[in-house]
Symmetry: C2
Amino acid sequence: MSLIVQKFGGTSVADPERIAAVARRVKGCQQSGDQVIVVVSAMAGETDRLLRLASEVLKNPTGRELDVLLATGEQVTIALLVLALQGLEVTARSFTGAQVQIRTDTAYNKARIVNIESEKICSALNEGNVVVVAGFQGVSEAGDITTLGRGGSDTTAVAIAAALEADECQIYTDVEGVYTTDPRLVAEARRLDRITYEEMLEMASLGAKVLQIRSVEFASKYRVALRVLSSFEEGPGTLITSEENIMEEALLSGVTLNRDEAKLTMLGVPDRPGVASTILGPVAEANIEVDMILQNMGADGMTDFTFTVHRSDFDATMSILEHISDELGARAVEGDNKIAKISVVGVGMRSHAGIASRVFAALAREAINIQMISTSEIKISIVVDEKYSELGVRTLHSEFKLEQA
Amino acid sequence: MSLIVQKFGGTSVADPERIAAVARRVKGCQQSGDQVIVVVSAMAGETDRLLRLASEVLKNPTGRELDVLLATGEQVTIALLVLALQGLEVTARSFTGAQVQIRTDTAYNKARIVNIESEKICSALNEGNVVVVAGFQGVSEAGDITTLGRGGSDTTAVAIAAALEADECQIYTDVEGVYTTDPRLVAEARRLDRITYEEMLEMASLGAKVLQIRSVEFASKYRVALRVLSSFEEGPGTLITSEENIMEEALLSGVTLNRDEAKLTMLGVPDRPGVASTILGPVAEANIEVDMILQNMGADGMTDFTFTVHRSDFDATMSILEHISDELGARAVEGDNKIAKISVVGVGMRSHAGIASRVFAALAREAINIQMISTSEIKISIVVDEKYSELGVRTLHSEFKLEQA
C-alpha cells in the first residue's frame, strides 16, 4: 500500500462536473489499494471574485483580513469534493489549513510553511478516509489564518507529502507533463518521462509555468518524488526526482522561452567601484527585481551596464535610470522591451563541454544576433530580439535533437 | 463606556456598498465611545449559492461537510467588513466561529451553542479593535466546523452578548422594529418602544418574522437587552426586555396573522381513551408538526377531532387521516387549507380579565365566524376563514386601540 498525495488546481475543480471527475479519479486511486490525500485549490475564478469584492470595499486590500477572505475559496472546494466522494460511496474527510495545523509564519498573503502536524491526517487515513486538505492556506501560531500566495497549493501538497513521507506527490494540471519545450511553439516537443529537481527549477524560473518554483524547491529539499500529470487525459506524466534516480542522463532536458523581460542599458558610465550598486540600488528600492546583469569592460575607463527586468517594470526602471544618469555622468540610457530570453537546460552540461559553442553556432547559422549571454552550471540563457523567439527555440530544440528520447 | 453587540443580517451586507454603510454605522457607534462587537451573516444569496453548488455534487447534502461549505459565507463577510472598517481608519479584527471558540455540540447543520470563550474577543476589544465575528457558525470540541441552522446569526449575537455581559444586543433588520401588527395589513400599525421576551416569543412563533425564536429564548434566559432596529433608517427600534424593565404595561402588544396553516378534522370518532394518540401518532411519525388541537365533546359517545398543521403538510396529513379513518371507525375526514390564525398577544392579559370576550364580540360584530380557539397565559389565537384575514386583524387592532401608545 502506497501513500499518494494528489493535488488538483483551480481549472481541475472549476465546476461541479469537474469536481465529480476528480472524485472519480481519486476513487480509482484508492481502489487500487493506495491511501490518498487530496490537496485542492479554489475553483477557477473564485480567488479573482473574492479579490474583486475586497477591492470594492478597500483599495489595495492586504494583510490579515485578505487571507481570512481568500481562504474561503479552498474551503468551498474541500467540502464539495468530500460531498462528491460521498456520492461515490467513498468515505472522506475535509480539513482546512487551520484544522490540519499547517503552521506558517505570519507573513500574510505570502506566508511560509513552518511545520505540518501529521496527527489528524494520519488518524483520518487510518480510519479509511480519503483526506481532502485545503491548499494555499495555513495558520499562524496565534491561530490567525494565513495564505501562501498564488500557486501555494502546490507547496501545500509537497509539504504534506514531505511531512507524511508519501511515496509520491502528484500534481494534476492542464498539461500532460513537462515538455522539452512549449508544444505550441515546436510541434516536435516531447514529454519528458523524468527530469531532475534542478532542471525543473531552471525550467520553471525560465518561464515553463507548470509548477510553482517554491514547491519544486521544497520537493528537492525533502526528496519528495513529484509527478506532473494531466487532470483531463490518462498518462504517466513527468516524474521530477533527484539525479541519482535517473539512469541515463540526457545532454539537455529542454529549451525555454521567456518573453516577459525588458532590457535596459546605461551607456558610458565611468568604470569605478560601486557603479553597479549606484545603478541597481534605486531599482531594488523600488521593489523591481533584476534578472540578468551584464557589465562590459569598456575602453577609456568607461563601461556599459546592461540588465533585464520584468517587462511590466520597464517604464518605471527607465525613469529611475534617467534620474540617476546625470549623477553618474553616463552618456545615455537605452531601453528595449522587445526582447526574448531563450535558455537551454540540462544536468548533462556538467559533464559535456561545448554546449555553449553549439548554441552560438546554431543561432549564427540562422543569423540570429545574440544580445546578452548568461550561464549557470546547468543552463545557458541568451537574449535575442523578440522577433526571433520561435525561430530561436526551434533551432535549438532541433540542434540538440530533443524530439528524440 | 458601554459594550454593544450589533448584528447585521444578509440583506444588510448584501453587496460591497451596503457593507460600507454598515462600516459607517459601526464607526459611528464606536466614536460615541462604546466598545463594539459586530456579528454578521453571509451576504444575501450566498448561502443559497453554496447550497446549490453542494446539491450539484450530491443529492441532499448534509452533515459535517455541508457546514464546512456553508461556514465560508460568513467568513467572507467578516473579512470584507474589517477591510471596509480599515478604509474608514477604524482598527478592527475578524474572528470565525472556530477562532473565537464558539463551542457547539456536533449536531451538524443545526448545532447548539454550548459555550463561548470570551478571552480572544476581550483582548481584541481592549487593544482598541472593533471585533467582527462570523455569525451562524461554531466549532465542536474535536475542532470540526458546525453551523447553527438558518437564522443562527441572531443566536450568535445574543450568545456573545450574554457571554460578555454586553449592555445591549442590537439586531439590525429591514424593518424599523416590532410593530403592533403587520404595517402592510394595517396602516395604523405602531412601532412598539418596548416589548417583553415572552410577548416577542409569542409574536415570533405566530408569524412575525423579525427575530429567530431561539435568539429570543436565549436573550430571555440570560437577560440580554435585545433591540431590533433598521439597517437602513435611523430610529430607536424596539427594545425586547424583561417585564420588570417595562414601567407601564400595555393591555396588549400586538395582533399577528398566520396564513401558513391548514386544518383537518376527523368526524364521528368513537370517544374513547387513546383516540388522540391513534390519530396524531402516525402524523408525528411522518415528521409533521401539529399546532392547534381541538377535541369536542360529542353526543352518543362520538367526538370530532380537529387539528392544524403547516399548509405544506396538508396533503400528506390528509392521506394519513384517510388511511387510519377506517381503522378508527370514523364517519369522515374533512380538510381546509384556506384558513388563517389571528392572535392577540400581551402580558397585560394576565392581570386583565375579559380580553377573550372582547375578541369574540368584536369579530362577531363583523360577522366573522370563529372556527377554533386556543389560549395561553398571554395569548388568544383564533382560526377563521382565510378571506377574513385582513378584516379580522384590523378589527382586533382597532378594538384594543393598538394604534395609540
